[in-house]
Each structure stands twice: as structure tokens, then as C-alpha cells.
């Protein structure tokens, strides 16, 4: 579980996050949604400790992340897996080596154990053995995301963060990634936080949704509640897509 208490962050006097409080639960896919520039990436970076907060607290279970020193933070980060928007795979090494990298860096596993773990992680994200020796530049965008997920779960993290995991992907591949994130969250009992503005993901896997607007917490709920919400800002955001406006109409008409 990750708990955020009264988080405030400003850049040059411009308040980007205004008093955000939320609990991201374990074993659930927690989504942060909002327009571009609403502050969701800043929120994610604050939770990860990549940006220092001005006020407020971030708790990883019973540990106050905002008060921990750099050494302790480094240790805590080994419990965190992160999937970046572009995958952020290391260009100079192969798919297999990318997934093995955190194992080489932080474990005392034997080469055989590492090989098995790499195969386990890549198998979980449906990467075929023939792709193991390819470099990231030789694989598709969807595969890159899947390899990034495999690398993120290699150390068996307690917390999984994803920044726009579906950006640049076709709807079918996006659905595969969404299912994968949901299944992995359940299987490994992780606290998963996904930053997205993909409405398909919201409806598909949004077990807990935080909607941010202009740096403020605007709405919290589930994917089942979101289509019936009466929050104007949230409705403007969701129903900008005519498909969802139609979907709501259909729901209302029974």
C-alpha cells in the first residue's frame, strides 16, 4: 500500500500539485488520470522520489518515504518496478540482458538461476525465446513495453509504477498490456500505480481511479462508478470521446 498525505509541489511559484491525499491499495490497479499538464506525471515522480515534494508525506506501507535518507531510498527502490512511457530499455544490450540487468546488479543468484528468472519473467509477458537475443531497436513498440514490464518485475517488486504504458500502441496491443498489468498485479500482489489518459484502460482495468484536474484531487472511484459520475470536470474529460458519451447514454437507457 502507498499512502499520500497532503502533497504539495510547486515549480517557480506555480502550484502543480495542491494538497493531494490518496491511498493506493495493494493487489489493485490504481490509475491516475487527467488531462495533459494536470500534474499526474509530477505526482508519479514525487511518489518515486525523482522530484522532492514541498509539503506532505508519502508512505510505503509503514515507511515514510519523504523522511528517508538517500541510502535508505536506494534500498527501497529495489522494491519498486517501473515501466516508462517509451520502455526505457538499455539500447546497448539485448532483450535478455535488459531483464537480467537488475538481477546482475542486486542479487547473488547463480547464472543458471538468473537465466531461469529471466525466462520466467519474459514468458509471463509472452515474449518468445527467439526475441531474447534481439536488441531493443529490433523489436516492436508493444514488445518493448512487454520487455520493460518483464524487467520491472524481475526483482519481484512490491510496487509497480507505469507511466502511460499504452501510449503509441494500437488498441489491440494496448488491451494486451492492460490485461498483463492486471494479471501481474493479482498474481504478485503488487501495489500497481498506472498513469494514463487512455479511457480504454480506465474502463478495462481501473479498479481504483484518481482523477486530477489542475493539480487537485477531483474525483476518486472505480471503473464501474466512473461512467455514472456527476463530476462535471470528470465528465468533460471522459465524454470528450463520443464513444463513451454513447456508452453512458446506453447505460442510462438501460
Amino acid at each position: 500500500m502507498i499512502e499520500i498525505k497532503n502533497l504539495v509541489k510547486s515549480f517557480d511559484g506555480n502550484e502543480v500539485l495542491n494538497n493531494i491525499s490518496i491511498i493506493f491499495e495493494r493487489g489493485k490497479t490504481n490509475l491516475i488520470i487527467g488531462r495533459s499538464g494536470s500534474g499526474k506525471t509530477v505526482l508519479l515522480k514525487c511518489v518515486l522520489g525523482l522530484i522532492d515534494v514541498d509539503k506532505g508525506e508519502i508512505w510505503y506501507n509503514d515507511r515514510n518515504f519523504t523522511l528517508t535518507g538517500e541510502k535508505q531510498r536506494k534500498k527501497m527502490r529495489q522494491e519498486i518496478g517501473m515501466v516508462f512511457q517509451g520502455g526505457a530499455l538499455f539500447d546497448s544490450i539485448t532483450v535478455e540482458e535488459n531483464v537480467r540487468f537488475p538481477l546482475d546488479m542486486f542479487t547473488a543468484m547463480s547464472p543458471r538461476e538468473k537465466q531461469l528468472r529471466v525466462a520466467f519473467c519474459l514468458d509471463h509477458v509472452n515474449i518468445e525465446t527467439r526475441a531474447y537475443k534481439l536488441s531493443p531497436s529490433e523489436i516492436s513498440g508493444g514488445m518493448k513495453k512487454r520487455v520493460a514490464i518483464a524487467r520491472a518485475i524481475a526483482l519481484n517488486p512490491r510496487y509497480l509504477f507505469c507511466d502511460e504504458p499504452n501510449s503509441g500502441l494500437d488498441p489491440e496491443t494496448s488491451k494486451v498490456i492492460d490485461r498483463l498489468l492486471l494479471d501481474l498485479t493479482k498474481e504478485f500482489e503488487m501495489t500497481t500505480i498506472i498513469n494514463t489518459h487512455d479511457m480504454n484502460s480506465v474502463i478495462e482495468i481501473g479498479e481504483s481511479i484518481l482523477f486530477i484536474s489542475q493539480g487537485k484531487k477531483e474525483w476518486v472511484g472505480t471503473n464501474k462508478e466512473i461512467l455514472n459520475s456527476h463530476n462535471k470536470k470528470l465528465n468533460d474529460f471522459i465524454f470528450a470521446n463520443k464513444l463513451y458519451a454513447q456508452l453512458r447514454k446506453d447505460v442510462e437507457e438501460g
Binding site: 525523482l50 517501473m82 538499455f90 546482475d104 546488479m105 542486486f106
Partner: protein
């Protein structure tokens, strides 16, 4: 103010670079890769440039020392001392700042803009140390060897060009190479190449590590890095010459 900002951030980065590595074995593996990638791959260009410069200097000195009062062997002596004192250390460092420096900035800069550095940080890895330390050690280690290779092939260039162009005979050239040899010149230049090696690796790494924006900014950072490294090389050349040679 801008200079102070960059100087402060550079030294703060250097402090991070020399922090205790997470896993020594991974750093050693990376070090060998960098020696191959940055050092061994530079031998070819060093050999080529040195042979040509040695040959060109031989011809130019023969014109400059055309006066019959000057003994011909002075050409060999002048080529040797120019290579030993300045060309093979300073000029070669300036050339390497272009080759190795731009390589380092673009590699680290690309990693920054594609979030690979953030990815290392989130894993709990000191990205500055993991990416930059092996490069600094590799370049500092390889620079004295490049210096020696450059001196050798520069002299060889003159040795081949002189007799072929008829500007000096082989025995005269060889006599010049042996005459009034001061071994301290080599020691002095090796000290210089160690300092230049550090600059050629660390300054471009700094510009790459703190790049912001996209691919265009990586290109701009590479140019800025090479220009600044060249200025610093010449500045430190002046300081070291004053300190060690006068």
C-alpha cells in the same frame, strides 16, 4: 554566474561519480567495454593523424631550417620534441575531445532523453557513477598509451616522408631523433595526457548527463561539450606547462 552554476554542478556530479559502486563486478565489466569502445577504437585515428603530422612537420621544418648554418639533423630533433612536448599530448587530446567527447555526450544524453537514466535511478543505481566512472577510468588509462603510439608513429611518419621527399636523409633524421633527448619531456607529457584524459571523459559526460529536451538538444550538447573540453584542455596545458616545465 552561469560559469559558477556549471562549475558547481560539475563538481557535484564528480562527487556522485566517485561514490562507492553498488556492485564492483558490474563496473569492471563496464570498464573493459569502455576501454574497447573509447580507447582501442581510437588507435586507428591516432596512428593515421600522427603519421601524416610527422611527415608534414618534417617537410615544414626542412623549409624553416633551410639555412646551411643549421645542421640537417635539427629537423629530426624538432619533429621529435614537437611530438613529445605538444602534438602527441595536447593536439591529440583536442582531436580525441572531438571523437571520444562527442561520443560520450551523445551516448549519455540519449540515455537521459529516453529515460534510461531515470530507469537506473529508480532501480536504486547511482547512474552518474555507473555510466561515467568506467568511462573516466578507461580514458585516463588509455590516454598515455595513445600518447606513446602517437609519438612513435609521428616519428615514423617523418622517417618515411623525409627521405622520400629528399628533405633529409635517413641517418641525419635518426641522428636528430637521438640528439639532446630529454626524458623528462615524455614524463611531463604523460602527466598532461592523464589530466587531459580526465577532462575528455568528464566534461562531455557532464553535458550529456544534464541534457534536457530531445534529440536536437543532445546534438547541441555534444557541440558545447567539445568546445568546452577544448578550451579546458588548452587552459590546463598552459597551467601544467607553467608548473612543470619552467
Amino acid at each position: 554566474m552561469k560559469f559558477l552554476f556549471h562549475a558547481g554542478r560539475y563538481f557535484s556530479m564528480i562527487r556522485m561519480v566517485f561514490a562507492r559502486p553498488e556492485k564492483h563486478r558490474m563496473y569492471v565489466k563496464q570498464l573493459f567495454y569502455e576501454i574497447e569502445n573509447l580507447g582501442v577504437s581510437s588507435v586507428g585515428i591516432v596512428v593515421m593523424v600522427s603519421i601524416f603530422i610527422g611527415g608534414i612537420m618534417t617537410i615544414q621544418f626542412s623549409y624553416a631550417l633551410m639555412n646551411p648554418l643549421y645542421p640537417s639533423y635539427l629537423i629530426g630533433l624538432a619533429v621529435r620534441d614537437t611530438l613529445l612536448l605538444e602534438f602527441s599530448s595536447t593536439m591529440m587530446a583536442l582531436i580525441m575531445a572531438g571523437k571520444i567527447g562527442s561520443n560520450i555526450t551523445s551516448e549519455i544524453g540519449s540515455m537521459r532523453v529516453t529515460e534510461q537514466i531515470d530507469s537506473l535511478e529508480i532501480m536504486g543505481i547511482n547512474s552518474a557513477s555507473y555510466l561515467i566512472l568506467p568511462k573516466i577510468i578507461a580514458v585516463v588509462f588509455i590516454f598515455p598509451f595513445l600518447y606513446i603510439i602517437s609519438v612513435f608513429f609521428g616519428i615514423l611518419g617523418g622517417l618515411v616522408t623525409g627521405p622520400i621527399t629528399g628533405t633529409i636523409t635517413l641517418p641525419e633524421y635518426l641522428e636528430g631523433i637521438k640528439t639532446l633527448f630529454v626524458s623528462y619531456y615524455a614524463t611531463f607529457s604523460i602527466i598532461k595526457s592523464l589530466v587531459f584524459g580526465f577532462l575528455v571523459a568528464s566534461v562531455p559526460a557532464y553535458f550529456g548527463y544534464y541534457v534536457q529536451g530531445g534529440a536536437l538538444n543532445v546534438g547541441k550538447a555534444s557541440t558545447t561539450a567539445v568546445v568546452n573540453t577544448n578550451i579546458l584542455i588548452l587552459f590546463f596545458d598552459l597551467i601544467l606547462t607553467r608548473l612543470l616545465l619552467t
